[in-house]
């Protein structure tokens, strides 16, 4: 029996030639354009780090390039990876999918690798020498960036060892001295001359003679008085003095019951340090947890360690009996209208006062700057030091940065101010010599309104950027459909209540996994999704690392590539049509 087979192929609709005959490009009235933007982390980093950039390089396995990119902006990632308040993570777009990328932990891993290798040696290509006063993060950053730019730099430090607040103020359990010592040695290895035990005051020092520029970053070391009755009595110690003494290895007698007054990082450091000295500290703060300026993770750690907090309480009097401190009388506060800082102002409540027994009080409500190293007349009437956007003071030849000028007294802000001043000094010295200075709108140096990029100033950004724009790419510009949830790597903590480093960080492999969680917001990382999604097969890949070509003869301007791009690195435009 013969089966009924059709004599020929079925009659179907198919073109006789390829669809290449149909130049769909003629249909378009808009076209896609690859356009790299700025990730929020970069825009928010007070140091001006290319966070997204080094995450991308790590993802590609280009660790050496990642290290190079990081070191272009930040001289001490081993330090910032430990003590920075990492505002980058607060703005990380990934937080809207699962959890922010743990930038500080990746940075710390890279920083430790950097310290394990010999430092680069910067060639001295400039004649003018620069003096830096103060070897804290601002001073060291300025010195480092100037040295990279080819300037001979001398750093003067009043204390016997370099590091400034990193050494004197930050407790060892947050920043091990072995790490800090290696960091300082590494920086000296790059060619920076650091002279300790050299206090510079503007009135009686001729050490500054011969320097073409001076950067002053002497910090803020004077603890503010609380303004409560009996404050001059015994056992009422400025918190910073207490920390400095402990860090010197000379812990003062504090007894058992320690009241720490304040809500900033100094207060938390005091409380956790007192705990490690065997005392039972309590933190008294006049506002609430929400308004605390301290790094949230540090507050969490303090609470995890069992330190009690007395919120909405302001000391009104310190009572002494027979010349010994007996207790602190506090007034119960409540929150009123927001003040100039945007935080709600504490005002006296109707709940009256209460007392806390105390053997010692550590005051940590803020520190004021010392201006001894600056020419007279630089400070404003209220004692603030005002600088221009490149760190220059009102006095010719003097730049300033760090806690001396900063409103945000953080290590990251100090590092950023040192870098900005280095740019300012480089620009001024070049202009003085009549050298062509790259004409930059300062806004172009900034990561989308954030801090400045040294690579942008030098014009040697190693990251290939397609048609770069300074637009900050927020979550709404991303296509989260192409990202899957991946748990954030968690650092481990030691349970020992001693001065060994509490946060043990990540392993190198964990850090790499964490870097891979980065979205690379706004920047093409050649994921090829555009190429895959293009319905006209109009996108082709150039050699690795050089992006894509769009065949405008066939791109019909549908916008699928721009819509699908996971990281908002393609825009639709009418340009060129």
């Amino acid at each position: 029996m013969s089966e009924a087979m059709p004599p020929q192929a079925p009659h179907i609709s198919a073109s006789s030639t390829s669809t290449r005959a149909n130049r769909t490009g003629s249909w378009k009235y808009i076209r896609p354009r690859y356009r790299d933007g700025v990730a929020p982390c970069n825009a928010r980093c007070p140091t001006g780090t290319d966070v997204e950039g080094y995450m991308n390089l790590l993802r590609q396995g280009r660790t050496a390039d990642a290290v190079d990119l990081l070191l272009r902006e930040n001289p001490m990632p081993a330090v910032t990876g430990r003590v920075c308040h990492h505002p980058c993570e607060l703005v990380c777009n990934r937080a809207q999918l699962d959890d922010a990328v743990a930038v500080h932990l990746v940075e710390r891993d890279l920083g430790d690798r950097i310290l394990a290798a010999p430092p680069p040696s910067f060639a001295r290509t400039r004649e003018e020498t620069v003096a830096v006063i103060g070897s804290g993060p601002a001073g060291l950053a300025c010195a480092y960036h100037l040295a990279r730019l080819g300037y001979p730099v001398t750093v003067f430090e009043a204390a016997s060892r370099a590091g400034g607040m990193l050494r004197q103020g930050i407790p060892e359990y947050r920043l091990p001295r072995t790490v800090l010592d290696r960091q300082i040695e590494w920086l000296e290895g790059t060619g920076i001359d650091i002279r300790c035990d050299t206090r510079i005051t503007i009135d009686d020092s001729d050490d500054l003679a011969g320097f073409a520029a001076v950067f002053v970053a002497t910090g803020a070391h004077r603890s503010r008085p609380i303004g409560a009755q009996g404050e001059d009595g015994p056992r009422i110690i400025p918190g910073l003095e207490f920390l400095k003494a402990v860090n010197r290895g000379e812990p003062p007698q504090i007894g058992h019951r320690v009241v720490v007054v304040g809500g900033g990082n100094t207060a938390i450091d005091c409380a956790r340090t007192a705990l490690r000295l065997g005392a039972s500290p309590v933190v008294v703060y006049r506002r609430t947890r929400n308004e605390m300026p301290a790094i949230a993770a540090e507050v969490d750690e303090a609470m995890r360690e069992g330190i009690p907090f007395e919120f909405l309480a302001a000391p009104r009097a310190f009572h002494h009996i027979h010349g010994r401190l007996s207790g602190v009388e506090c007034e119960r506060m409540e929150l009123g209208e927001p003040d100039a800082s945007g935080r709600r102002r504490p005002v006296a409540s109707a709940h009256g006062t209460f007392s806390i027994l105390a053997d010692t009080v550590l005051t940590a409500i803020g520190e004021d700057a010392g201006t001894e190293a600056l020419p007279h007349g630089v400070a404003t009437d209220d004692g603030r030091i005002v600088v221009d956007p490149l760190g220059a003071t009102r006095a010719a030849g003097f730049w300033a940065g760090g806690d001396l000028t900063g409103l945000e007294r953080t290590v990251a802000d100090a590092l950023g101010s040192g870098k900005v001043a280095a740019i300012g000094i480089d620009r001024a010295l070049r202009a003085k010599r009549g050298e062509p200075v790259p004409v930059h709108d300062l806004a172009e140096l900034r990561w989308s309104g954030g801090n400045m990029s040294m690579s942008r100033w030098r014009g040697d950004d190693p990251v290939r950027r397609t048609d770069p724009s300074n637009e900050r790419i927020d979550f709404t510009a991303l296509n989260p459909a192409h990202f899957t949830r991946v748990a954030r790597q968690r650092e481990t903590f030691t349970d020992a209540l001693d001065f060994s480093e509490a946060n043990r960080g990540l392993t190198a492999l964990e850090a790499l996994d964490e870097a891979r969680r980065c979205f690379n917001c706004g920047v093409c990382n050649e994921c090829e999704l555009c190429l895959i999604m293009c319905p006209d097969v109009a996108i082709t890949r150039r050699p690795e690392g050089t992006g894509f070509d769009i065949d405008l003869d066939y791109c019909k301007g549908c916008g699928v590539c721009a819509m699908e791009c996971p990281r908002g690195a393609i825009v639709m435009t009418r340009e060129g049509l």
């Binding site: 029996m1 013969s2 089966e3 009924a4 087979m5 059709p6 020929q8 192929a9 079925p10 009659h11 179907i12 609709s13 198919a14 073109s15 006789s16 030639t17 390829s18 669809t19 290449r20 149909n22």
Partner: protein, 386 residues
């Protein structure tokens, strides 16, 4: 080999024996087991096929369209809302003359939400150009799945294998599993007459102007009609190989019948029991099973029903505002029969949404049919509560 398996797994085993190459499906009750088993087979390597996960039935059929156009043997399975969601792509498959095979587990459409047997889903796809084959037993399901690939590829028309929700899909019966070598002889590798070729790119499904469109449809019509004779030949060959005979229609105890029931799906098995009982009581009652709904076997049915005074069509479906769909088709087929020989057709609507069609229900149908001379309406509803 004889195994006790549910109808869904009979489909899966049929697809495996057919050496299907691409499977794309989206799960839906009561079809899920079909693709669960197939995905396991693909995962373990028991079946050398690409399993494409998709987000919807529309995409499942789109994936099958692409795979079939590339020359692969492609399969999907669905049910109810999944099938009607696929509707547009069913036209693409048939119009593109792609021999895709699909199993559809008959399930009612909502609302009211209902997962039980009802033929409204498959019959609502009547005009998409798909061949439709209805199954009565799990053996029927397995054999029909293999036959469907052979039929589809012989005429370049897609085939839908239809089985009742739960009565077949989830009910285990003994099924003879044919040897792979036997199936390989019966169903050689697909030899596609059109095949996507990246070396010679062409646009498929491209624009066709009015002066060419009708020729495509005419070719499709000839091929789909030819599927009737092709099915006869293919089932004959299958019967020689396995001893199991199938046809577009089946006549059961129709000799001298004064009343013939017309059924499809699992109602047929119940009706066989009732016919046996009525015959034992001396009544001249018989049964016609319709297996092939598209192409509709009009010629065969005219021959079988001509001269029978009363015909009762049992429809587990309804075309709202008209009647049961099998009844409607049979009335149309019989219109050409001369007046004196044309049966009175009684179209019963019953068993919707999985309501049980028991011997008592079928007996009621027979009694009502015998009591009347002509049907008082085109749709005679059975068992509707007041």
């Amino acid at each position: 080999m004889r195994k006790v398996i549910v109808g869904n797994h009979a489909v899966s085993l049929g697809v495996k024996l057919a050496r299907c190459e691409v499977i794309s499906a989206y799960p839906i009750t009561p079809q899920t087991q079909v693709v669960e088993m197939l995905s396991e087979m693909c995962a373990t390597g028991e079946l050398d096929a690409r399993f494409i996960k998709v987000e919807s039935e529309h995409s499942a059929m789109a994936a099958c369209v692409g795979a079939s156009a590339a020359g692969a043997r492609a399969f999907t399975a669905t049910s109810s809302h999944g099938l009607v969601y696929m509707h547009e792509m069913l036209h693409w498959a048939a119009g593109g003359r792609l021999p895709i095979v699909m199993a559809n587990v008959n399930r009612a459409l909502g609302p009211g939400w209902n997962i039980w047997v009802d033929q409204s889903d498959s019959l609502s796809q009547r005009d998409t150009g798909w061949i439709q084959l209805y199954c009565e037993t799990n053996q029927d399901v397995l054999d029909t799945t293999i036959l469907a690939f052979r039929l589809a590829e012989s005429v370049d028309v897609p085939v839908m294998v239809v089985l009742d929700a739960f009565y077949l899909s989830h009910t285990a019966e003994p099924v003879i599993i044919p040897e792979q070598a036997l199936v390989d002889r019966f169903l050689p590798q697909r030899a596609a007459r059109h095949r996507l070729d990246t070396a010679a790119p062409r646009a498929y499904g491209a624009l066709v102007r009015p002066e060419d469109y009708m020729e495509m449809r005419w070719d499709q019509q000839l091929a789909t009609t030819r599927a009737q004779t092709a099915f006869d030949d293919i089932t004959d060959e299958w019967a020689r190989l396995t001893g199991r005979a199938y046809g577009a229609t089946e006549a059961y105890r129709t000799r001298n019948a004064e009343l013939l029931l017309v059924t499809s799906g699992t109602i047929t098995s119940t009706a066989r029991e009732v016919v046996d009982a009525r015959r034992a009581a001396g009544e001249r009652v018989g049964l016609i099973k319709v297996k092939m709904f598209r192409p509709f076997p009009s010629v065969a049915l005219r021959a079988l029903l001509r001269g029978v005074p009363r015909v009762a069509v049992l429809d587990r479906n309804v075309s709202p505002g008209h009647s049961g769909i099998f009844a409607e088709e049979i009335r149309a087929a019989l219109y050409d029969v001369a007046c004196g020989e044309r049966p009175n057709v009684f179209g019963y609507v019953l068993g919707l949404g999985g309501r049980d069609v028991t011997p008592a229900v079928i007996n009621e149908v027979i009694d009502r049919t015998r009591a009347g001379t002509v049907a008082e309406r085109e749709d005679l509803w059975v068992g509707v509560k007041a």
